[in-house]
Amino acid sequence: MTGPLRILLADDHLMFREALRALLASLPDVVVVAESGNGLEVVELAKTALPDIVCMDLGLPGMNGIDATRCLAAACPEVKVIAVSAFEEKHHVLDMLDAGALAYVTKIDAGTELLRAVEAVRCNLRYLSPRVQALLEGGPSESSNTARLGARERRVLQLTGEGKAPAQVAELLQTTQSTVDVYLRNIMRKLELPSIAALTRYAVDAASAAQRTEL
């Protein structure tokens, strides 16, 4: 492949689109060749702007992202589509993949996940952000459990597993207890644990497993 990677951004939310443009600008060999906030326009635009990748929102006016992807797949089959959506529902994901998208990334994770998606898609690989992956698998897979957590989340989990109360964790991490609560909630969601008690149990198990591995 010669020349920089050409990307078309399709999203009607301007602020978010600009954020994506800024994000992609950080990549050395990527150029945003066109932008649009209308599904119908995206298909037309793609014919002239000749992008390699279209980052497609789902809730577009004019024509929704799923239909636009289907049209695009028919009109320009070589164009790869990455869905960037606020929808976090199985059906949206499946329908989007069915329409021809190669990747699906939720907007809230786009900051990190879109870059991974672009890397995968340019090598013609499918990519689903961990959240989406979990959605399709019906639960988090064992291997990706802790991989889905950020560094600070892992630290909170580890301290909790060592028997630290949230107040102690907050002190150790030099932050407030309410922030620790936020982390605990995020961890619960990511690992799909139903309660704080379940999270604590999980953390303790993980800690003792880690100890065994060290021994």
């Binding site: 939310h13 954020a19 907007k107 809230i108 909630r185 995020n186």
Partner: protein, 610 residues
């Protein structure tokens, strides 16, 4: 009845040869012959055991045939025995003498066997008729003398021909005193004069409402007392004459009882007659026999007109049958109250309350009904009902409107959060990522971790917005329909609560109109919320049938259940919306059936026309 006893014929002749000849002839005719050689012996035998006929020779020494015949006819015991005289003399003289002596039949010597047989048969037949007549007369006399009713027979001139013992007991005259007298001596004026004209008119015109009809008349006793009598007249004809038999019964006792009963009733009625209430007294046949004064103005009937009516006839024709069955109950219950619609004489209908009670006067049953006009309160009640219906209708409309407005607000709020707030957060998140990456490494861990805290906060906020969105309006519901929305909600619910939820679609699934989908989804949500709050269930089974003419949603759990009768006792707080599940179902023109019992889990079934 055929008499099988052989006929006994007494043959009387002094000449043994002639007697044997007669005996032979009698026996040849099939009769049993008895023999007597002279008059004295014949009389003795006839008295001892009366024969059916006597064959008597005229010419005998001593008492001749005439003397024997006379003696036989003088004795009441032997008088009915028919006598046939045998005479050599066929002259008119001797036959006349024989008839005078009482002989019924003659046969001349030399006796012809066949003639004797034929004449004997006739004679015996006559005897049998005579016997039967005597028996019947005796029977009639015994009957008449033992009858409690007076029986008096008169001819067409009103002359008494017969009277029985009861006639004497009732009127004071012996039968002998009455027979031959004009029957009008048993009647007081003016009955006496009327009697004559009645009889006259009857004889002329045959107007038959006298014969066979019983009526009450006044009679006159020998001592001048007036008598209360019931009279029935029968008529017969004989020999071209017309005879009348009057059968009279003394009804003084009955009249006295009736009178006492009437006066007892009158006392009861007089106590109530001037009361403002409408009071009716009616008998066991429902015939009105008295009313209070106020009834006349209320119903427009005069007292006399009331007396021609039965109490149930005051009801409107439409309600009469119901009224009749109410009365059947009254006879058993003795007292009851009910509501009915009565009808004035002029046709105006009005609602009434009736309190009816059985009253017994001298062992006779009557009923007393106290009637109140409730048409005013009934009208009031109907007006209230109408107003209530209007109000509840309006309330229903308002609620429907409210539900729609609420659903609309949810949709808009959810749209706003989803289309703007959530992407805003995402944009912030992406920008923060860019910012974090751009920070120089000299900036220090503290700032980096602080950035990470902010990003965690944003993620948490995004999650909570997503949850709020899902609660406000399931994105899947609009996108993929009710079944998928329920499945998705159930997944999240199961993860959060540990309760296993299965969603089944009976007969496959087809989408129904959006308003109905969102309503069913709300009911489903509320049911699951309730299960979590109260049921302590481990599993919930949801079944959806969209193929039937009405959509059916069934949600059953295996929890502790409750007593459905006590639901009303604790006001249930509205869950997902302003209305509870049942009200939501009703607003959509469907209904909800809740079944549960302590320890039996809870089952909710909603059916709504698609």
């Amino acid at each position: 009845m055929k008499d099988v006893r052989p006929t006994r014929v007494l043959v009387i002749d002094d000449d043994a040869r002639g007697r044997r000849l007669l005996v032979a002839m009698v026996e040849a005719a099939g009769h049993l012959a008895l023999e007597a050689g002279d008059g004295a012996q014949a009389l003795e035998m006839a008295r001892q055991n009366p024969p059916d006929a006597i064959l008597l020779d005229i010419l005998m020494p001593g008492a001749d045939g005439y003397a024997v015949a006379r003696a036989l006819k003088e004795d009441p015991l032997t008088r009915p025995i028919p006598i046939m005289m045998v005479t050599a003399l066929s002259d008119r003289e001797s036959r006349l003498r024989g008839l005078e002596a009482g002989a019924e039949e003659f046969v001349s010597k030399p006796v012809d066997r066949l003639e004797l047989g034929a004449r004997l048969r006739n004679l015996v037949k006559l005897k049998r008729y005579g016997d039967e007549l005597l028996r019947r007369t005796e029977e009639t006399n015994v009957l008449l003398s033992h009858l409690p009713d007076a029986v008096i027979e008169i001819d067409s001139c009103s002359m008494v021909r017969k009277a029985n013992a009861a006639a004497q007991r009732i009127f004071g005259y012996t039968p002998e005193e009455l027979v031959g007298c004009d029957v009008n001596r048993l009647m007081p004026e003016p009955v006496r004069s009327e009697h004559l004209s009645h009889v006259g008119r009857y004889l002329r015109s045959g107007d038959s409402n006298i014969i066979g009809v019983s009526r009450e008349v006044t009679g006159l006793h020998k001592d001048g007392r007036l008598l209360s009598l019931e009279l029935r007249i029968a008529e017969y004809r004989a020999h071209g004459e017309r005879y009348f038999i009057g059968i009279l019964r003394d009804i003084a006792e009955r009249k006295r009882i009736e009178h006492e009963r009437d006066s007892g009733l009158r006392r009861i009625v007089s106590l109530m007659r001037h009361a403002g209430d409408w009071i009716f007294i009616f008998d066991a046949d429902d015939r009105i026999i008295d009313v209070s004064d106020s009834c006349q103005a209320a119903y427009g009937y005069t007292r006399q007109e009331f007396f021609g009516l039965r109490f149930p006839e005051l009801c409107t024709p439409a309600s009469r049958a119901a009224c009749k069955s109410t009365f059947d109950r009254l006879r058993v219950a003795r007292s009851l109250s009910y509501q009915a619609t009565h009808c004035r004489k002029d046709g105006v209908e009005f609602a009434v309350h009736v309190g009816a009670t059985m009253i017994e006067v001298d062992e006779a049953r009557y009923f007393q009904a106290i009637v109140h006009d409730i048409s005013e309160s009934e009208r009031h009640r109907l007006a209230m009902e109408r107003q209530l219906a209007i109000a509840s209708n309006r309330l229903g409309e308002l609620s429907r409107h409210l539900v729609e407005a609420q659903e609309d607000a949810r949709r808009r709020l959810s749209g706003e959060l989803h289309d703007r707030t959530s992407p805003n957060l995402a944009a912030i998140q992406v920008n923060l990522g860019i910012l974090t990456a751009a920070l120089p490494s000299s900036i220090g861990d503290d700032l980096v971790t602080r950035m990470e805290d902010i990003r965690a906060l944003i993620e948490d906020t995004d999650t909570s917005i997503r949850e709020v969105c899902a609660d406000l309006r399931s994105p899947v519901l609009d996108y993929a329909g009710l079944r998928e929305a329920m499945v998705r909600y159930a997944e999240v619910y199961s993860k959060r609560s540990g309760v296993v939820v299965t969603v089944d679609c009976v007969n496959g699934y087809q989408r129904v109109k959006p308003a109905l989908e969102s309503l069913l989804f709300r009911i489903f949500q509320e049911a699951l919320t309730n299960t979590l709050k109260h049921a302590k269930a481990s599993a919930v089974a949801v079944a959806l049938d969209t193929r039937a003419s009405s959509v059916a949603l069934t949600i059953s759990d295996d929890g502790v259940g409750f007593d459905p009768d006590r639901v009303g006792a604790v006001p249930s707080k509205p869950g997902m919306g302003l209305l509870n599940m049942g009200e939501m179902a009703e607003l959509a023109g469907g209904r909800m059936v809740l079944s549960s019992g302590p320890g039996r889990g809870t089952r909710i079934e909603v059916r709504i026309q698609a």
